[in-house]
């Protein structure tokens, strides 16, 4: 975490463009620039700036936006709620769809159902999520008008209204992940179904359903969980595009905007919050390994 912060902080110091120039426009004199630099604390030595930023960041204070002067933490956390609703929704879609299709393909291995799912998922992982988002937005929001084309999530306080506004972004984002999870589930299920303990379970006279979902899936889930870790990271990255297309005021739009406008505190905060969530998610995933696999328990 802190490592990431440190790396990104010093990378931002390498920026050859003076941020204040972008901030104040071309038509300014040197005194104004110096005054602005002093106001933002940019005239201090780099290390001092770094430790100042770091000590605040540890306490949850990511500084203030150079443009609006608002607290970066407050602003980004508000936006993070939106982003992670979308990420969580897509993950839910990806897991449900991916695992059920993967299991289905594995138990029908070599049959037409398997081939259909394998081909579909090979194509699915190659679909650019921003393209899906663009087409969905164009067809269902602009052309058919079934869904709002601009973000309404904050104006509608009801759960229904909220779901309504995130459903298209979630589908767009979840497609590629569903396909990746389906592929992984299929291949690890096939591996597990060849194991002796599956034959033992069948030889006990248990129903196929129980053997598949109690005995096989739990063991097959271990590599799937690893993949979910990667997918989560990819979904958070992908959310940037989906937000951009659906005009969602999320983390991603803030991040891209800050890069284009050289709003360094926001860029730093964006990277920090994203990393924080990914790190926490990976800790949760590590805990699930212990539940799935008794051998790694202490």
């Amino acid at each position: 975490m802190l490592g990431v912060g440190t790396i990104v902080f010093f990378m931002s110091q390498l920026n050859p463009v003076d941020p204040t120039a972008a901030l104040l426009g071309d038509d300014v004199n040197l005194e104004t620039i110096a005054a602005k630099r002093a106001e933002l604390g940019l005239d201090r030595p780099v290390l001092e700036q770094y430790f100042d930023w770091l000590s605040s960041a540890v306490r949850g204070d990511l500084g203030e936006s150079w443009f609006t002067g608002e607290s970066v933490t407050t602003e980004l956390i508000r936006r993070a709620n939106v982003t992670f609703s979308i990420v969580f929704g897509s993950l839910l879609i990806a897991l449900t769809l991916g695992v059920s299709l993967g299991v289905m393909a594995a138990i029908k291995a070599g049959r037409w159902q398997d081939r259909l799912i394998t081909v579909t998922s090979s194509l699915g992982i190659a679909v650019p999520n921003f393209w899906v988002a663009l087409i969905l937005a164009a067809v269902f929001a602009v052309k058919l008008g079934w869904f709002p084309a601009i973000w309404t999530g904050e104006r509608t306080e009801t759960l229904g209204g909220w779901l309504y506004s995130i459903v298209l972004p979630c589908i767009a984002l979840g497609t590629a992940s569903s396909a990746a999870i389906a592929r992984q589930t299929r291949s690890s299920m096939i591996g597990v179904l060849q194991q002796d303990y599956i034959r033992t379970a069948l030889a006990k006279g248990l129903p196929v359903r129980r053997v598949l979902f109690r005995h096989a899936l739990r063991n097959a889930a271990i590599p799937v969980v690893t993949l979910v870790g990667f997918q989560l990271s990819a979904l958070i990255g992908g959310a940037i595009f989906v937000e951009f297309i659906f005009n969602v005021p999320g983390l991603g739009t803030a991040g891209v905007d800050s890069v284009l406008r050289k709003n360094v505190p926001v860029t730093l905060g964006f990277v920090m919050i994203t990393t924080f969530v990914v790190v926490v998610a990976n800790i949760l995933l590590d805990m699930s390994y212990a539940w799935l696999n008794p051998k790694v328990r202490k």
């Binding site: 490592g3 790396i7 990378m11 931002s12 390498l14 463009v17 594995a106 138990i107 029908k108 291995a109 070599g110 090979s122 194509l123 190659a126 679909v127 650019p128 393209w131 663009l134 087409i135 937005a137 067809v139 299920m189 179904l193 060849q194 194991q195 002796d196 303990y197 034959r199 033992t200 379970a201 030889a203 006990k204 006279g205 248990l206 129903p207 196929v208 598949l212 005995h215 739990r218 063991n219 990271s233 958070i236 990255g237 940037i240 595009f241 951009f244 991040g255 891209v256 890069v259 360094v264 860029t267 990277v271 994203t274 990393t275 990914v278 790190v279 990976n282 696999n293 008794p294 051998k295």
Partner: protein, 684 residues
């Protein structure tokens, strides 16, 4: 490894062609190309990418008469596809097809930059830390893990925040992100490779570190790197489009598919069409790279193929002789099992017309080498022949009930309740994710409907009975906390939980330490006597047979070649194969002489002759052996040999001399077999 695994894991073929050439023989590179060329889809993908490269890089100006950045006619904006504009025009009247073709240049350039950067940083770094390990490894890996934790796009955006937007800069950023993947992969491969013998060999011959890394390790990790790079190329094409779409990549003079989508987005309210072709172009290119990567991976080595689950019931076959015996607990008639031959559509019979009966309380040993079909015959009784195998029989009578024709679910009331199964490898037979108690009590709760506490009580009793010390505690332990012998006791407890009438023991001691084998055999003998359960014992070990069996059926290449009472078959074998197996038993006498073996192995089923299956390996074979032969009475047993009457084969001469590999002496009084040292349970 049991035959079942062999049948599933080994002959299941690549999509076409014969499975045999995939063996160890042959040059690695040739085999790679043979396999790769067989993969039509991957070839098509490679072809497509070549066409894309040639068209966009070299032929672009000749393909279309339009300029990618200038409208031919400024009034032609948002035109639908037509003769002039095959894919229509965009918001400022530029021809979309022209832009797609030119866009291929930037997509490939982007992938090239990113992959070059990724490999240029990743391989040397991975080799370095993988080779030197220690603190270098720890520090660099900490750094790499940190960067890998950030979503790739976010990291790329952070790098672009420093270096500024632009196609080349953006792809450098992507390349740096992907170099972390390559570093990790290279490091892991080097760690694995350096443990291999060839590195030791190279070092012993005095090669320098550098030489070892570049000459020995790099070529060996190349396959994994080639596959990964192909997939990263696909990701780079996606990433370029994505970043350009956000306005962080290509500028307006560069024709990028991502940028085309960005322009299309701006005008999406006026026309959807311009968004379709660039998206498809990205999609198809990425699919092609992915398919190529998967094809390369498959050509370097295939993953196991599976079959359907929940099939395996036995279909009815015409009866060839006498019907089933009503007095036996099990009576099998005309059992055959067919599998598709690898790489062809033709079926081969791995089990052919097997008949046997087991009386109440009797132990029948089914004996044979790996590949003889003995395990798969036994699994047919349970309806568990793995897909795509197909069992058929004219009759399988079990305890007065006809099992042939019952479907998978109807057989569930037999499995685990009436027939228990003990398999070869106890640690593999237990599910690693659940406690042994839960696994033993599962059939109790499922078949007998016991409550949770009653099932637990009964499980503890069972564990006590099979000799697991401290069952009240061990019931909550996981399989990996048991030694092999103790795990096999758990499997036995599980198989006996519902007091079955028949126990199928498939090589129950083969995977165990020699010292433990005798103990487990004794336990099986005791239990079968005490509970009056009949046993179908499958083994290749005549020592085990001598210890437990009442009757013997010797199987070779899918057929029973000799069957009779244990003592008779052992003393006066009538089939040369039986004689060969008896000769191969280690004996007390003649220790100094060399142990006899039967030369060769059981050939694969498609090479079995139409005449006597054993003839090619038989010392006594003559021209009469080319004719198919049935089981015929010979002496006290039934034998499948035309020369049975004229041959005088050697059996076991003396009752006390058969010493099994399990250390258990045959024809001894059961009481004399040693109890040996009690196994020490393992707590990990």
């Amino acid at each position: 490894m049991s035959e079942i695994e062999l049948l599933v894991a080994e002959p299941i073929p690549p999509a076409d062609g014969s499975g045999l050439e995939d063996g160890d023989a042959g040059d690695g590179k040739n085999r790679f190309w043979i396999r790769f060329k067989r993969n039509k889809v991957a070839l098509a993908a490679a072809g497509f990418l070549m066409v894309l490269a040639v068209c966009s890089v070299l032929l672009a100006p000749f393909i279309t008469g339009h300029d990618p950045n200038q409208a031919t006619n400024f009034s032609d904006f948002f035109k639908p596809p037509s003769g002039d504009y095959w894919l229509g025009t965009d918001a400022v009247g530029r021809d979309i097809l022209t832009r797609i073709v030119y866009g291929g240049r930037y997509a490939l350039l982007a992938g090239l930059i990113a992959c070059t950067v990724a490999l240029g940083i990743g391989i040397p770094l991975g080799l370095l830390i993988g080779y030197f390990r220690g603190w270098v490894d720890r520090i660099i890996m900490r750094f790499v893990e940190t960067l890998v934790a950030i979503p790739a796009v976010v990291l790329a955006i952070a790098i672009i925040a420093v270096v500024g937007p632009g196609l080349v800069k953006a792809m450098f950023a992507i390349g740096i992100v992907y170099s972390m993947v390559i570093t990790r992969l290279t490091r892991a491969e080097v760690f694995a490779a350096r443990e291999e013998l060839y590195v030791d060999g190279a070092r012993a011959s005095g090669a320098s570190n550098r030489r070892i890394m570049f000459r020995h390790i790099l070529p060996n990790i190349a396959p994994a790197l080639i596959v990964q790079t192909t997939l990263l190329f696909a990701q780079s094409v996606l990433a370029e489009a994505a970043l350009s779409f956000l306005g962080l990549g290509a500028n307006q003079d560069q024709v990028s598919w991502g940028l085309m989508l960005n322009n299309a987005k701006t005008n999406i309210n006026r026309a959807i069409w311009p968004a379709i072709p660039p998206g498809l172009a990205i999609f198809v290119t990425v699919v092609a790279f992915n398919v190529l990567g998967d094809g390369l991976r498959d050509a370097f080595g295939r993953e196991a193929r599976g079959g359907r689950v929940g099939v395996g019931d036995v279909v009815r076959a015409p009866a060839s002789g006498a019907g089933p015996s009503r007095d036996s607990i099990v009576s099998v008639r005309d059992l055959s099992v067919h599998f598709p031959r690898p790489g062809t559509s033709e079926d081969v019979a791995v089990v052919q017309g097997v008949n046997f009966d087991i009386a109440h309380g009797e132990v029948l040993a089914l004996v044979g080498e790996s590949g003889s079909g003995k395990s798969i015959s036994a699994l047919s009784l349970l309806g568990l022949v793995p897909d795509p195998g197909q069992a058929s029989a004219s009759s399988i009578m079990f305890d007065g009930e006809e099992l042939v024709g019952k479907d998978f679910d109807e057989l569930r009331s037999i499995r685990g309740k009436e027939i228990g199964l003990i398999s070869q490898e106890p640690s593999a037979a237990l599910n690693p994710a659940y406690t042994v108690g839960r696994q033993i009590s599962e059939p109790l709760r499922h078949h007998l409907g016991l409550s949770k506490s009653a099932a637990r009580q009964r499980t503890i009793e069972l564990m006590t009975r099979v000799g697991i010390p401290n069952p009240e505690v061990r019931i909550d332990a996981y399989p990996h906390q048991f030694s092999g012998g103790m795990a096999q006791r758990v499997v036995i407890a599980m198989a006996l939980a519902c007091r079955p009438k028949l126990l199928i023991a498939d090589e129950p001691t083969t995977a165990l330490d020699v010292t433990v084998q005798g103990q487990v055999l004794d336990l099986l003998g005791e239990l079968s006597e005490e509970l009056g359960v009949s046993v179908l014992l499958i083994t290749h070990d005549l020592g085990v047979v001598a210890d437990l069996a009442d009757r013997v059926a010797v199987m070779y290449a899918g057929q029973i070649v000799e069957t009779g009472r244990l003592a008779e078959v052992f003393h006066e074998p009538n089939h040369p194969y039986t004689e060969g197996m008896i000769r191969a038993i280690p004996r007390n006498e003649n220790r100094s002489s060399e142990l006899a073996t039967i030369p060769g192995v059981v050939p694969p089923p498609w090479q079995w002759p139409t005449g006597c299956h054993f003839a090619p390996r038989c010392d006594y074979a003559d021209e009469r052996c080319d004719q198919p032969i049935e089981l015929q009475p010979a002496g006290h047993s039934l034998t499948r040999c035309v020369r049975a009457e004229e041959l005088d084969l050697d059996g076991v001469a003396n009752e006390s001399v058969v010493l099994g590999i399990g250390g258990a002496a045959a024809f001894q009084n059961p009481g004399e077999t040693s109890k040996a040292t009690e196994e020490v349970p393992r707590y990990d």
